[in-house]
Assembly symmetry: C2
Homo-oligomer: 571 residues x 2
């Protein structure tokens, strides 16, 4: 398997030559609700062209994607966010409702047009209300003409979690007073497929559960991964879970992790790997096990007491029957609260020297973001520096570009939090406030963000939050336990080979430091990728170089105050 690494470096040159003739790729998508059975229980999903998950987009670096998105939901607005795509020059196509555009009205069609300028494993998903939880997601794969590493074939694995309760009802529950928690997911899905009332591995289960009896054409039948012995496979894996942090394993197969969020990383081997909502990876594995057996591919819940069965499918060594159950029980996941295990995985990820750009050595501005759980007027919320994000009715991109200053609170949001704040205890005063302020970043400056975790409302509770930044990749400079120390911790920043990412986790009671250059004109969300947390206010908004933004289609801004601005009275 070490030869893989050789090939990897060897193909470096091809990367530099990959300015092949770019293509326009055009899609017509209709979005609507559809009855579907993702885990064997009748439910409803948001579908695209009758598919769940939505169609996979496959493109080549440099291509331009055109998606004509028609909203066929009966009364709801709609947007789609292209997770991991930088949207350089097209910030209005980022698909973050009320940040980069107005929701698309029912019956209307909006054209997303953007360039995919970097190879990698990406995905797309709804970014309005909790439509992602309703199943509005799919894969977006950007290939290099010549990939930097060798493999024989590739698979795509999009991970998600599923509730029987509609996301519409979940949203109402979360916004209720008193708060109603949505609970743990009913099932975990691999490419939109899971099993709730039965198990593929019933014979190994400690709890009584039926063995799934599947023909294979059921909506919830697992997608089998067919492999030939002694080949190298690339598994592209991305997580768009609403809540669950996951651990992925391929029974008996070592995995070499080579890509994170569309960025090359220094390859490393693991037996299993954590993946948080918003993240994507590529791993290479060799089919070097006994070819007379099949093997489990499993995902298990991390970071929350697992009440959701493992998600399972089969790595099927051809010519075995796909129905041949592996000899052993599915891989045991690490203990859900073994955070040292998780940290150890995160700390193995480094930028690939030579292929991964290095960060600027100095920052121009450091912003500390304290993550707390709070109450506002009896509602349960999440807050950043004591402000719980609510979106304005006018997209920031429009109001900032056009200088409309009553569209949101134009005061600067706090750059930090109180030095005396005890992150190990519940907030002494749990009340925070709603807000929609924007961090105005000076164009082309280097920004450090310190994400500081803290105790939630309950004693001895601090949760994992995977933070996702729109419009950028950032360097992960380091993780730490406890409260961030401006002196000691900064000295330990990894400026040599930090990985580039678009999503990074903060561990319970810990901090995470990232660095990025504010060089992409637009307005960009930075938020916890857990859908209920974002819905409850866990995010901030960055704006940079908005005066440089050109060619925003009117359709993107036809709501709120930008709409009023456009209107000339015709009566």
């Amino acid at each position: 398997m070490s030869s893989l690494l050789g090939i990897f470096l060897f193909l470096y040159l091809f990367l530099l030559l990959s300015s092949i003739s770019a293509k326009n790729r055009e899609y017509k998508w209709k979005v609507e609700y559809m009855h579907w059975c993702p885990d064997g229980v009748d439910g409803v999903v948001i579908s695209i062209n009758g598919q769940f998950p939505g169609p996979t987009i496959r493109a080549i670096v440099g291509d331009t994607i055109f998606v004509h998105l028609t909203n066929n939901l009966p009364t709801e607005g709609l947007v789609i966010h292209w997770h991991g795509i930088s949207q350089i020059g097209t910030p209005w196509a980022d698909g973050a409702a009320l940040i980069s555009q107005c929701p698309i009205n029912p019956g209307e069609t909006f054209l997303y047009k953007f360039k995919v300028d970097k190879a990698g494993t990406y995905f797309y998903h709804g970014h309005y209300g909790m439509q992602r939880s309703a199943g509005l997601y799919g894969s977006l794969i950007v290939e290099d003409e010549k990939e930097a590493f060798h493999y024989d074939e590739e698979f795509n694995l999009l991970l998600s979690d599923w509730w029987n309760k509609s996301s519409h009802d979940q949203q109402i529950d979360l916004s209720s007073k008193p708060f109603r928690w949505i609970g743990e997911p009913q099932s975990l899905l691999m490419n939109g497929r899971g099993q709730f009332n039965c198990s593929l591995a019933a014979q190994f289960s400690k709890f009584p559960i039926h063995q799934c009896k599947l023909r294979g054409d059921e909506q919830y039948a697992p997608q089998i991964f067919n492999v030939h012995p002694n080949k190298t496979y690339r598994l592209r894996v991305a997580s768009t879970t609403a809540l669950a942090s996951l651990n992925l394993a391929i029974e008996g197969h070592k995995m070499m992790v080579v890509e994170a969020d569309g960025n090359y990383i220094q390859p490393f081997f693991v037996e299993n790997m954590d993946i948080y909502s918003g993240e994507s990876y590529s791993i290479l594995f060799k089919t070097d096990q006994d070819p007379s057996n099949n093997y489990w591919i499993s995902i298990s819940v991390r970071g929350r007491e697992p009440k959701t069965p493992q998600g399972l499918t089969i790595l099927n060594y051809i010519p075995n029957f796909a129905s041949k159950i592996p000899n052993s029980p599915p891989p045991l996941a690490p203990l859900w609260n073994d955070y040292n295990y998780s940290k150890s995985f995160s700390n193995k990820i480094f930028g690939l020297m030579g292929l991964s750009p290095k960060p600027p050595t100095r920052q121009n501005r450091r912003i500390l973001l304290l993550n707390t759980q709070n109450r506002i007027e009896g509602y349960t919320r999440w807050s950043i520096n004591n402000i719980s994000l609510v979106f304005p009715t006018t997209p920031y991109l429009g109001s900032i570009k056009h200088g409309i200053n009553n569209a949101f609170d134009t005061k600067s949001p706090p750059n930090t939090f109180s030095k005396n704040y005890n992150i190990m205890k519940p907030p002494p005063n749990p009340n925070s406030t709603y807000g929609n302020r924007v961090y105005m970043l000076k164009f082309n400056t280097t920004i450090d963000i310190i994400l500081q975790n803290a105790n939630a409302l309950g004693e001895n509770v601090s949760e994992i939050h995977p933070w996702h930044l729109h419009g950028h990749n950032f360097w992960v400079l380091g993780y730490g336990d406890g409260k961030f120390d401006h002196k000691k911790d900064v000295e330990k920043f990894n400026l040599k080979n930090p990985p580039l990412r678009n999503t990074v986790v903060i561990f319970p009671y810990g901090w995470t430091a990232i660095r990025f250059v504010a060089n992409n004109p637009g307005v960009w969300a930075f938020h916890c990728h857990i859908e209920p947390h974002l819905h409850l206010g866990m995010g901030v908004v960055f704006a940079e170089g908005v005066h440089l933004v050109k060619n925003v289609p009117n359709e993107a801004l036809n709501c709120g105050l930008t709409r009023k601005m456009f209107v000339k009275d015709k009566h």
Copy 2:
């Protein structure tokens, strides 16, 4: 009780003098989802200012109503229709989504401003998607300074039906292939209150059910009607059911029906009365029964095999305890399919000579509308003259006023249906087509509409449909069985004292003839008031004198092609 009738006529003069100083009445409403328990089962309603049903508006004839409506639903548009209000001069305030206005976006506020120019019992409700089914409704009472009849006190009774399944899920079910019917309502509500898991009348029930044990402050505790003996009460009753046709009775009390849909009718006495969705009535009754007892007020399902328990509350003779259960079982409703009984009630309704204007004696145009159940591409739909209504994305009021001719299909919809159509059989070719054409009515002409019922998709099934016309009252010229006959049936039209209404029923396999004058500039929906039927296409659209419409606020037309028209490029 006959003295009531005397007083009624005696006060005629006061009516003519009721041009008292008009008032502006201003309301600020916030609409949001809310957990609520309308029938004892935890559910979700659309609330206004935290209330379900929404607040009652009480106004005096001539007042102007201002409702600042803020949409706090998370992702859905919103409108409110003011059912029964003619909206003369304010057709944009009719609150029919995509007919008179664009849906109000989440977070935005729209100002409804309209005059209430006629006393009567009205109500308001959502008119987008199936938001009415979700509980978005309330009462709108317009008083005369001097009422035309005497009573000591009045009560208000808004009737509705309730499902445990969210209207959101219902809507998806109805739009599914294969079709999923929503089933009969779980319970009937009186002023938003019903009982599902218990009965107020358990002791009389043939089926085992618990007696409700209520303190009275529960969300689903019935609203008790407290009366003094030997007084005259006015009961204002309106039905905003999603599906159910109802029969109302007050045990042991004769009811004198005096008002229908805000129009005076020739008073008549009944023991119980049918009321269809979209209708309203005022009845007078005397508390002339044994004052040591309390009495049932009941509503029961008509026209569909009743699978829903009676809705019940108590007429409480003071000083009895409200908890005193009546001595007798609740009133027995007429057999659900005793349509002769229903027809007999409808045929008792006449305009009140002198107070109710007479119809023009001749029509200028007669339109026949065949009501059929159909299939389109495997979906189950309702159609009118073989077209199943789908709304355009630009409100008709805007596209017609501004001469935008690509906003909808501008071909004339069919004025009639095939003479050979056999209404007694399922459609020989069940396929119909989607459409959004408009009946363009010449301004100030007199229009006759013949609503022709027919057999649905299943053999021997023909359903009741209560049709509601926006922007107008119409005269009900007659009802008949079978297929409308242009010669014989026209001769039997009642041109002497037909009642004015805004809603009228067609009976199974029958026809109903109405007449109205197209004298209200605007675009007006005419549709079956059964929410799932309208959702499945059972309606048509009339336009008249649209060139005369003035002062449409831009906010009403800020979507679709009218929005594009307003936009001047600012980039």
